[in-house]
Amino acid sequence: MSGLITVNISDMKVSESPAVFVTYALGSCVGVCLYDSALKIGGMGHILLPHFPEGSRPGRINRYADTCLPAMVSEMERRGCLRSRMVAKIAGGAKMFEMADGSGLGDIGARNTEAVKSALQKLKVRITAEDTGLNYGRTVYFYTEDGRMVVKSFARGEKVYG
């Protein structure tokens, strides 16, 4: 196993094999793992918010689903990946706090998940595994050798998506 590539909040990275990506403690954020199995090239993004706000200064594109994902796909294409071969595995988008009715705080996770799905659909990238929603945090590992995603949590154990 080669070195661990840590993807911080509002960050995105792409790497050839062998590589293991990790992003820690996703809450309402969504982690996206893109993979081209023919070249064994993978990418991971840690998305904080759904949509790039109009008029915002550029340079923060990896914070938003609708700007991070096109950039990640382009970076993979630049390395020779084909869009038709790319698949996505996604995790996160939890509702960390059960607030009283009428609060907008709780549903950011669901909006993030929705924005990630719609961005992937626009890019014509298929989702092959999903571990989203519910009410707990997730740490995500992603292995470029076989494209598997491993989701670990504090209270709900570990799940492997091959």
């Binding site: 403690a25 996703l26 954020c29 904080l48 706000p53 009283a100 705080l105 945090g137």
Partner: protein
Amino acid sequence: MPGQDLSGFDAAHLDVLKEIGNIGAGNAATALSRMLSLRIPMETPKVKILAISEADRALGGPETPAVAVLAELSGEIGGMMMFLLDIRFAGLLLRRMLGKTRADLRNMTELERSVFSEIGNVMIGSYMRAVSSLSGLSIRMSVPAVTCDMVGSLLTVPAAEMGKVSDRILLIEGSFAGSGFSIGGCPGKVNLMLVPRVESLKKLLDSLGILP
């Protein structure tokens, strides 16, 4: 003058927030002492402005488990405030309050949850009362919600709120020094995080007389 985020804070602003933090912490320690029938001195809190990415490191690393109590603020100040407890300290509090020998924080009962909700209510309420009386602004707080999970995942909620405008948060780091709480080297460490909306922060600093 602070700009769109908290990066423009200078020493004078921090001093004011620190002073509010002291008063709030003093109130909170008194209220908590009463709740627990124990005298709990609270050390002078440290007030820090941190990037969100630095905050989880300051709190022990993203995967460190913690109990968080989150309340939404409304009225003349909008935003949220989060109270974070070290998980061992949280366990001690439960034992003290409920007389239990062991609690499973991964699977809290309604009663255990309500204990943290009440403690958070006291802590956040004390701080907000200090802010309110110093600034003359009226602030309401919601019924707090309680979650126990990895600290990084808990922070994504204030991060998403602040992320619309800023990458920074205001962290008030407090420490209870009551002798009853120093079992097994448990640090009695608590953190309060104030996440005001940007327009609220300006209003707050303005009301405190520290904006030109």
